[in-house]
Subunit: 218 residues, 2 copies
DNA sequence: ACTAGGAATACTGAATACAGAACCGCAAGC
DNA sequence: GCTTGCGGTTCTGTATTCAGTATTCCTAGT
């Protein structure tokens, strides 16, 4: 078996992302490097390297002389992210060969109905949604685009994880997924893109509506 | 005057980008940290921090145990970047209020004709093009999108800087800029988006065609 | 002569140590 | 009473040091 040998900073990065997603840290909170490093069980160096990586991804802010802080959640940014992901994933669809997409469409439809029948916990929703979009992007040959999508999606996920208040959304997401899958099967790329856009923008709106008094700043 | 106090890693990052753009380093070249740190005049730590930041931006690769290396230039990636930028900037236009864009359109048209009349050196082309796109994005309220565009543009610029072989392209770029500006003035957003896409994709193709035996790998 | 093995070297990755800047509190002066 | 200057403390930002690992070169054996 290929034993995993990843750089420490990568593991720290994942740990930080996990903490941000689970709400173990409060958005906007300042970071004490020695303390956090001790908690995680590494020294300051790999922690700082992970922080810097996350900073360039937009998940963490820093100010010279004041150190790092977990990025605050703003309704504004959340709304900004939706059209960006939508556009990027739409482009990914457009760049994918149509026959491939039609094949994938079948799998996507199946996944969408699975999704529907499931009484889903929060974590499960996220995992399923990830899986679904992962399949959808499977035929896109543009590596760079996929990398971009991954990072933007991660930012978006943080909001979802912390704000999504109930499971009522599942059926609706499933419906939207099904719609997209249907378009893809038919080879109707513009239709799929439109459905995708609706999916994302509606998703963001929905979440914002339902977000009870929370971490949101503006 | 507000005296500049930037983190050292930011300055190092800029220096590295400058070296990559001017061709002072060869793409794909491995990086000796102590040597490079000495050259730049800082210690290894801020250099590594800059390297990690650039790595998450996709400008530098790293492999555990083998250290960092300047990202290789591939025709494939270059072609991949064009539609991404095109989609992102197109989205930015769409998100900008139409009246604002019409106002900006006038300035853009003026800049485009300036561009045309100028016998431009390479550096000047880049600066002008940057300026032009900067103005075009001036009315977009989506901060996150703008940040994304900036990083992707930087990747693209590296290719342009190293591959653009002659100045014949100027007039053509100017023509395309003018076309976009015209659409914007008319409030014809779809037209502008299409012109933009043509601008980017043609730009990439053009550069690739003319790139004499160079750093490109695949 | 060519290959395999091992030692030496060089470089990365991580930890620690140090210097310097930014906040907090308190006291003194206006 | 409010402001302003000073001192201490805490934390960041940078340098230095250490350990672990990959690579290379040399030697010995087939």
């Amino acid at each position: 078996m290929p034993i995993e040998r990843r750089a420490l900073r990568e593991q720290v990065r994942d740990e930080l992302l996990a903490r941000m997603r689970t709400g173990a840290v409060t958005p906007g909170e300042g970071i004490n490097e020695v303390q956090l490093a001790a908690e995680i069980g590494v020294s300051r160096t790999p922690l700082r390297e992970a922080l810097i990586a996350l900073e360039t991804e937009g998940q963490i802010d820093s100010e010279s002389g004041k150190g790092f802080r977990f990025a605050a959640l703003s309704a504004r940014e959340f709304e900004e992210l939706a059209p960006v992901i939508s556009a990027l994933e739409g482009l990914a669809i457009e760049l994918s060969p149509v026959p491939e997409m039609q094949k994938l469409g079948v799998r996507l439809a199946a996944l969408a109905s699975d999704f529907d029948s499931e009484s889903a916990a929060h974590a499960m929703i996220m995992t399923r949604d990830d899986e679904w979009h992962g399949v959808m992007l499977g035929a896109c040959p543009n590596e760079r685009l996929l990398a971009l999508i991954a990072t933007v999606r991660q930012s978006f996920h943080r909001y979802e994880s912390l704000l999504v208040p109930d499971e009522a959304i599942v059926s609706r997401v499933a419906a939207e997924h099904a719609a997209i899958a249907r378009c893809l099967i038919d080879g109707d790329i513009p239709g799929a893109r439109e459905a995708l856009e609706v999916n994302w923008v509606n998703g963001a709106k929905r979440i914002l509506m339902q977000s009870s008094s929370s971490y949101l700043t503006d």
